[in-house]
Amino acid sequence: MGEQSNKGGMSRLDFLKMSAVAGVGLVVGGTGMKVIERAVGSDRHTAVDGSIEGEQVVEMYGEHQAGIVTPQQTYMYLASFKIIAADRAALIRLMKDWTKFSDLSTSGGTMRTGDNPMLPPSDTGETYDLPASRLTVTFGFGPSLFGVGGTDRYGLAGKLPNYLKDIPRMPREKLDAALSGGDVVVQVCADDQQVAFHAIRNFIRLSTGAATLNWLNEGFISGRPGTTPRNLFGFKDGTANVLHQTTEGYDQVVWAGEDEPEWIKGGTYMAFRKIRMLLEVWDRSSMAEQQDTFGRYKESGAAYGKQGEFDEVDSAKLPDTAHVRLAKESKQLIHRRGYSYTDGVDPRTGNVNAGLLFISYQRNPDEQFIPMLKLMQNNDKLNEYTLHIASGMFACPGGIRQGEYIGQKLFES
């Protein structure tokens, strides 16, 4: 049972022997366990985007966390946790367990159960036969983890990064506090929904005793490879990402600056808004009205007065309150990585609860995101068809090397 005292965290194989009740500190003996079969350290070929040929594996280790500039997978789960760990040591144990499970699941593995049939199985099992499916896991820390607006439970106040704070009150929003914020956010993405759910489900399971779930969102987005996916209003969403999708571009737009605490170097800020989209109202609106709302042609995605989706936007050609015009007027770039969601039926109207899980990554939300959001909440024609119902801002630590755990530099320095 020496695994737990290993400061840098357990090796991949060590973890495979561990039972799932990690948060409580229970570890089952390792003898007689069937260890997962998986090609560890074989001659994998890592592609430019971090995916590993043939295995549908996105490398989780590196300068940055995966799932931020990784090309979007089809499915996402976004979960927010409240940390209830008694002390920082307990919090670190949770982060280690989560890191281990991330390592295991992003490489296509599952925890295998021991030979005592009287115990619950170690893995929930629904991915035994499934590949990694480009699974990525991305962690972010909310202001409350640093004691903002409450007590500094884990002695982290001194490490609050420069721009981490809740998004200020915006006009026309109707936020549900129970669906907003949190100490820790976990974004899980994969091309297979079952693989994505398996991961988030086990993160929740592993957190028992150290964290409780605040809220959980499920998203999907689809488009032909190489094309900009469309939102539920049928318009291309995220066209402007192309303006910064280079190494230098990401440095300027996404990755936290040099003046930030060490732990967030290579990291970024995640802005989250859950935006209800009034599909029924939108679907009754004329094509002219829809296109005026965005300032783009629906089919081609080209801005008004242009031919192609990626042609430079000429703001003067767009209506004053068009969504795209306002985005340009803010003169800021953000890295958008949103997903659509559906959430059942509004019992009062019979309308489908659906919309956008808006997620953007940026190095300085004060400059890049909040003014843009404010401009839009005040003027955007799209407001007639949307309603912001949840919000969150999280600081995502930089990437880790194998053997480190997520946020190690924050919790141990």
Partner: protein
């Protein structure tokens, strides 16, 4: 209560037939074969003639019932007035579809006065004074209908006429809004909470009926109508909903003078701007859709009148404003899409019935008393209406 609706539906079969006939006529009209065209034309004038005699008969009947109603009003016989209010409605429903097809402009006038008479028949207390005026106007409208001549205008002329009629309605609402806002703000400044609460829904009605027009003038709409949740900086929040909060939540009008002064000035400025407002058929039709969207987004959620819970007042006013557009485009609908006209007619009746069931003595119950199922019913009817209304642009 469902009488109006079921009568209306029993008429639909007939209308569907004549619409089909009209479509057949249109198709044959393009045919160069002279013979069938001639026989069709004979058929057409025959059917028109029978329609016209039905309209004459129906109108004579309706004039008689209205006369009886006027007598009952004169003798202040409340029970008789209520009974005859329903009879007026029945007499109108018996032939109104043929009127809508043949004399759309006159139809609108009659419809305008039948509805309030019918509504009043459901109230406990009868307002004899108001009914006297309405019944007299109905008689005038019926005389005009009897003498009406079929219109020969083409669609674009019909649409321009529709815009003129609608603009007159907007102006009328605007003038009434100024009068009512004046009384309301005076009550606010005088610190008279009860009187201000009584006048509050009246000022809302006018605004909500013409909301898309009222929203066309820059920051006038936010100044007059911003809800608390719309405002970024609460210290800049002004207008009617600020006073609504004072009346229903703070229960004090202290410090409201400044908002009342500003409100009446803003509404008067709106009146000046509306009087010179240019409107085209496109904008008018889009406005009717916007009104229903407003109802579907901010009223059905109970967010518009979050303190007073008078959301049904606004909801009904949105529907009324939208119906006014529908009424003014009936001639164009008859020409281009008579089926849509029939469906809209039936659906407006249906939603009016539902809304009427939430009135007590002519006032809507507060929104917080509605159950989820009740809200769902209203929402479902609104969805049907909105979907139909979204097709009206086909006449443009």
């Amino acid at each position: 209560m469902h009488a109006r609706t079921s009568n209306r539906f029993s008429k639909l079969g007939y209308i569907g037939m004549s619409a089909l006939l009209a479509a057949t006529l249109a198709a044959c009209g393009n045919n160069n074969d002279a013979e069938p065209a001639a026989s069709v034309s004979a058929q057409q004038s025959e059917s028109q003639a029978s329609d016209n005699s039905a309209i004459q008969e129906g109108t004579t009947k309706l004039q008689e019932v209205t006369k009886q109603l006027q007598d009952a009003i004169g003798s202040q016989n409340a029970d008789e007035v209520k009974k005859l209010g329903k009879s007026v409605n029945d007499a109108w429903l018996a032939y109104e579809n043929s009127v809508r097809q043949a004399f759309p402009l006159e139809y609108v006038e009659v419809e305008k006065y039948v509805m309030p008479i019918y509504s009043a028949s459901a109230y406990d207390k009868v307002d004899f004074e108001a009914l006297t005026a309405t019944a007299a106007k109905l008689q005038d409208a019926l005389v005009a209908l009897k003498n009406a001549k079929p219109t020969t205008a083409n669609t674009s002329e019909l649409l321009l006429k529709a815009v003129d009629n609608y603009k007159a309605y907007v102006q009328e609402q605007m003038d009434q809004m100024v009068d009512r806002t004046k009384l309301f703000t005076e009550a606010v400044i005088a610190g008279n909470i009860d009187e201000a609460k009584r006048l509050y829904p009246l000022t809302r009605v006018n605004y909500e009926r013409i909301e898309p027009i009222a929203e066309s003038f820059g920051d006038l709409d936010p100044r007059i109508d911003a809800r608390e949740a719309d405002v970024e900086d609460l210290s800049t929040w002004t207008g009617i909903h600020r006073i609504e909060k004072a009346l229903w939540v703070e229960k004090s009008l202290e410090g409201m003078d400044q908002y009342a002064d500003q409100l009446i000035k803003d509404v008067q400025e709106l009146q000046r701007k509306v009087s010179t407002f240019e409107l085209e058929p496109k904008g008018m039709v889009a406005g009717a859709m916007e009104l229903l969207n407003e109802a579907a987004t901010s009223k059905i959620t109970g967010e518009e009148e979050i303190f007073s819970h008078l959301d049904l007042v606004d909801f009904a006013a949105n529907v009324e404003g939208s119906k006014t557009v529908y009424l003014s485009i009936i001639p164009a609908l008859n020409e281009k899409n008579p089926d849509l006209g029939n469906q809209l007619d039936a659906q407006f009746q249906k939603i009016e019935q539902v809304l009427l069931s939430y009135q007590k003595n002519g006032e809507y119950v507060t929104y917080d008393t509605l159950t989820t199922e009740q809200i769902r019913e209203i929402s479902d009817e609104l969805s049907v209406l909105s979907t139909l209304m979204s097709q009206t642009a086909s006449i443009l």
